[in-house]
């Protein structure tokens, strides 16, 4: 019983520098890192010290909350550095990679003939478990729970997002193996949501054991939170798990080959990239190895992820655990003379206060300027235009600011994640940093209500 969902509220931000549909390979990065900061709610406890030898799949650290959830090395080599920040918070565990990757051995086998417990154990041990996230709270799923359903969004609608139909082409068998494993984790359905516009890859269309739903509309139609809300909304006390197609591939390879193969295909895109295309690389690849020779580094913002939700990285840093996109856009920083009255042909706005609305379909080369200063909320109705939930976004954000947990609960805090508010943050006239407010709000509710 597949569903057709039409999203009407939202917007596609058209940026320059979309990745061309060409595969390329990056040389093995000399350093690879896992960043505990990618996992909200996880307090990392190190298992190994600097200089220790690791293989791909060797546990590096575990979550203080649940020591079964381990984070493993994506590559074999030696732990080169444990980079720390303020209050000795662990920022990155950096591994100096071998030329040839050696793998830890995990159980291989057909997931259909394995029990739920065996599958969970294999996922936990190999370090694949953190791929599975849960709502409420947008954190790593708890292996002791049973979710009411599992969601996989087969397409990403964010600006410059990688095209999963292209990436997964020809990987049908591995994807199905991954799905078979995922399927066992829930008593409910596994929802695979494809883009109704254009033809989805056969990898998705021919998937077995899942419910395929068609979603149409502008961004955020591809965000899993929106899809959950429209298809199987979360009530208080319920859990829904979700992951991305490439995560399923990694899990598929675990069950096929018995190893933690952290290679992935990443879209290297953005207007500062000379030849934007798809590169095969490792999880946690070093930024230096990606930008070398292909990215204009002068006044450039490097983003691990997409421009709306990604995190800022620098040349010494590494890509994030969940990121399948590397974006390089111009760094702002220069004031604009009488910018509040200038015609602004190069500015993209959801309002029509800039004359850029004269040119529909134009692709923009946006920089990282805030284009204004933070103010109290004045305008209304802006968030609602890009927030396709039956939730009042501004009121929920205000409840988070005043830390009123009961109000947040009433207004639907269990269904949202920071990424759902990314477009609100983009559109905000008052330049309020909504995503970080939502993250703090979710952390607070999680700490108080579990």
């Amino acid at each position: 019983m597949s569903k057709n969902i039409k999203i009407s509220r939202g917007v596609n931000i058209k940026l320059k520098g979309e990745a061309e549909k060409v595969h390329a390979s990056l040389p093995l990065s000399s350093t690879v890192a896992i960043k505990p900061t990618d996992f909200p709610g996880v307090v990392p406890k190190l298992i190994l010290k600097e200089k220790a030898e690791v293989k791909a799949g060797t546990p590096l650290f575990y979550s203080k909350e649940n020591e079964k959830i381990v984070f493993t090395s994506p590559v074999s080599g030696e732990i080169a550095e444990i980079r720390r920040g303020d209050k000795r918070k662990i920022l990155e565990v950096i591994i100096l990679a071998d030329k040839e990757i050696r793998y830890e051995a995990f159980t291989a086998g057909d997931p259909n003939s394995m029990s739920r417990e065996q599958i969970i154990e294999n996922l936990l041990k190999s370090g694949c478990w953190p791929f599975i996230k849960q709502r409420p709270y947008d954190v790593i799923a708890n292996p002791a729970d049973t979710p009411k359903s599992i969601f996989i969004s087969a397409f990403d609608s964010s600006p410059l997002a990688p095209d999963n139909d292209f990436i997964l082409h020809g990987n049908g068998e591995i994807f199905q193996t991954g799905l078979d494993a995922i399927k066992k984790l829930t008593e409910g359905k596994v929802h695979l949501n494809i883009n109704a516009k254009g033809k989805a890859s056969d990898v998705f269309n021919k998937s077995r054991g899942v419910q395929i739903n068609k979603i149409s509309g502008p961004h955020p139609a591809g965000l899993v939170g929106v899809q959950i809300h429209k298809i199987d909304p979360i009530n208080k006390g319920e859990k829904v798990w979700y992951l991305t197609p490439q995560d399923v591939l990694t899990i598929g390879r675990l069950f096929k080959e018995g190893k933690f193969d952290a290679s992935r295909i990443v879209a290297v895109c953005g207007s500062q990239v000379k030849t934007p295309k798809y590169f095969k690389m490792l999880m946690g690849q070093s930024v230096a190895s990606i930008i070398e020779g292909n990215v204009d580094t002068e006044k450039t913002r490097f983003i691990s992820g997409n421009p709306l939700t990604g995190s800022q990285v620098n040349k010494e840093s590494h890509l994030g655990f969940y990121d399948y996109q590397f974006t390089a856009i111009p760094e702002g920083g220069e004031g604009e003379f009488f910018g509040w009255i200038a015609p602004g042909f190069d500015k993209f706005s959801l309002s029509r206060t800039f004359f850029s609305w004269l040119m529909s379909g134009k692709k923009y080369d946006l920089n990282t300027n805030m284009n204004g200063e933070e103010r109290a909320y004045v305008m209304t109705g802006q968030y609602e235009k890009v927030f396709p939930f039956d939730i009042y976004p501004v009121q929920l954000v205000k409840a988070m600011i005043i830390k009123d947990i009961e109000l947040m609960e009433n207004l639907g805090v269990y269904e949202v994640a920071p990424e759902d508010f990314a477009l609100c943050e983009y559109a905000c006239t008052s330049k309020i940093n909504v995503q970080s407010i939502v993250r703090e709000g979710l952390d607070l509710v999680r700490a108080e209500c579990g």
Binding site: F348, R352, T368, N369, N371, R375, A376, T429, N433
Partner: protein, 403 residues
């Protein structure tokens, strides 16, 4: 322009920063700098790209939308002056003595605008310096709205007093831009209306330098008079003969507050606000529907001549359209939820017509209706939110029943 930016940062800014000579005036410097340059702050948290719009641009767009009303108000001030003083006759074309009218109007109107901005921004700056906040843009619009809703012969000191009152008690005590409950410009007008009624109502204040012993009535004033003589058909007819035609009301060449008379100018403003997405179409449409509904109901009842005025004439008269386009849509004081906006707007239109017909002592029902609904807006939003909350709770209950 890099040169100017550099000059500001290197030569001027140090005086205003901590330890500088004018340290306390930093908000003023900051206000001036951000007026010249949209600052080059970059996003470090959350989304790396941001919409081009900010509050300054939003406010300037509203001010632009007000310009047609201001220009028409200037022309009309001169026009009414010369008309009532007998220097032109009603049959003359609009451009007879055009430059005299504009010059006369400008001399009357611009001082009010200047006083309103100077006093309002002065109070705003003072508060920012005391509270060490950066200067916010809210008054850019209020400063233009206040002159446009006043009679042209208002003494300038009254404009100043009203502006001070409105900015302090209408806005700053609640926390500044974005925090106020009542529309700032209407607070100024309501203050004058109740404190100095002789300068704000009657038949003597709407035309500049009205000759002695003549009456410069507004349309609403004349309609209101008919109620007193409703049993005398001749008297009613006598008054109705003097009232302005639908076309005159649409164009706006009649006495009234400076910026409110012309429906055309208001509609141009409405188009700008709706097209740019700054003003809420929902609110505007529902105010209109509310006004039409109430007038139609009065038409059906029809116990006095004012009630029998056609709905279209009711909408065009007085400040209804000006309030609809520029006051009711103020996002801070209006309802904030989409459903709430419809309810809020409908009742503004509904009450505005009701007040002006039921209580002829307050012909400007629009002002009172909007202020009243400003106070009610949070309540409307509360019930809209509760409906959403209940929906979520009932969804949870269904799941529990099923389980």
């Amino acid at each position: 322009m890099r040169f100017l930016e550099k000059f500001l940062h290197e030569k001027i800014k140090p005086h205003f920063e901590k330890g500088g000579k004018f340290e306390k005036l930093y908000p003023v410097y900051d206000g001036m700098e951000t007026f010249l340059f949209v600052p080059g702050h970059t996003a470090h948290k959350g989304a790396h790209i941001r919409d081009g719009i900010d509050l300054k641009r939003t406010m300037i767009t509203v001010v632009l939308a007000l310009i047609p009303c201001l220009l028409f108000g200037i022309w009309n001030t001169g026009h009414q002056h010369y008309l009532f003083n007998g220097e032109i006759s009603p049959e003359d074309a609009w451009n007879v003595m055009l430059w005299d009218k504009i010059l006369y109007g400008a001399m009357k109107v611009l001082p009010i605008v200047i006083v309103s901005y100077a006093v309002g921004l002065g109070v705003e700056f003072a508060f920012c310096i005391v509270k060490k906040h950066s200067i916010q843009e809210g008054f850019l619009v209020s400063g233009m709205l206040i002159p446009l809703i006043l009679p042209v012969d208002i003494p300038l000191w009254m404009v100043a007093v009203a502006t001070v009152f409105a900015v302090i008690f209408g806005k700053e005590v609640f926390g500044g831009t974005g925090m106020n409950i009542l529309n700032v410009a209407l607070t100024a007008r309501a203050f004058l209306f109740f404190a100095y009624p002789t300068k704000m109502s009657g038949d003597q204040v709407w035309v500049s330098e009205l000759p002695d012993a003549t009456a410069g009535e507004t349309q609403l004033g004349m309609w209101a008079q008919t109620i007193g003589v409703k049993d005398n058909p001749d008297a009613v007819q006598g008054i109705m003969d003097k009232t302005y035609s639908t076309m005159e009301m649409f164009i706006g060449n009649m006495p009234g507050s400076i910026g409110e008379t012309s429906a055309v100018a208001c509609l141009i403003g409405a188009l700008i606000l709706i097209y740019t997405g700054i003003g809420s179409f929902r609110i505007m449409a529902s105010v209109l529907v509310g006004g039409l509904t109430m007038s139609y109901i009065f038409n059906l009842v029809g116990i006095n001549p004012f009630m029998e005025v056609s709905p279209i004439d009711q909408i065009l008269a007085g400040g209804f359209l000006f309030g609809l386009v520029f006051m009711a849509t103020d996002p801070v004081t209006a309802s904030q939820t989409p459903t709430g906006k419809i309810i809020y707007g409908f009742f503004i239109g509904f009450f505005a017509i009701m007040i002006r017909v039921f209580n002829p002592a307050y012909p400007e029902g629009m002002m009172l209706a909007i202020l009243f609904m400003n106070v009610m807006a949070p309540l409307i939003d509360h019930y809209v939110l509760q409906a959403n909350v209940k929906k979520r709770i009932s969804r949870l209950k269904q799941v529990k029943v099923a389980a």
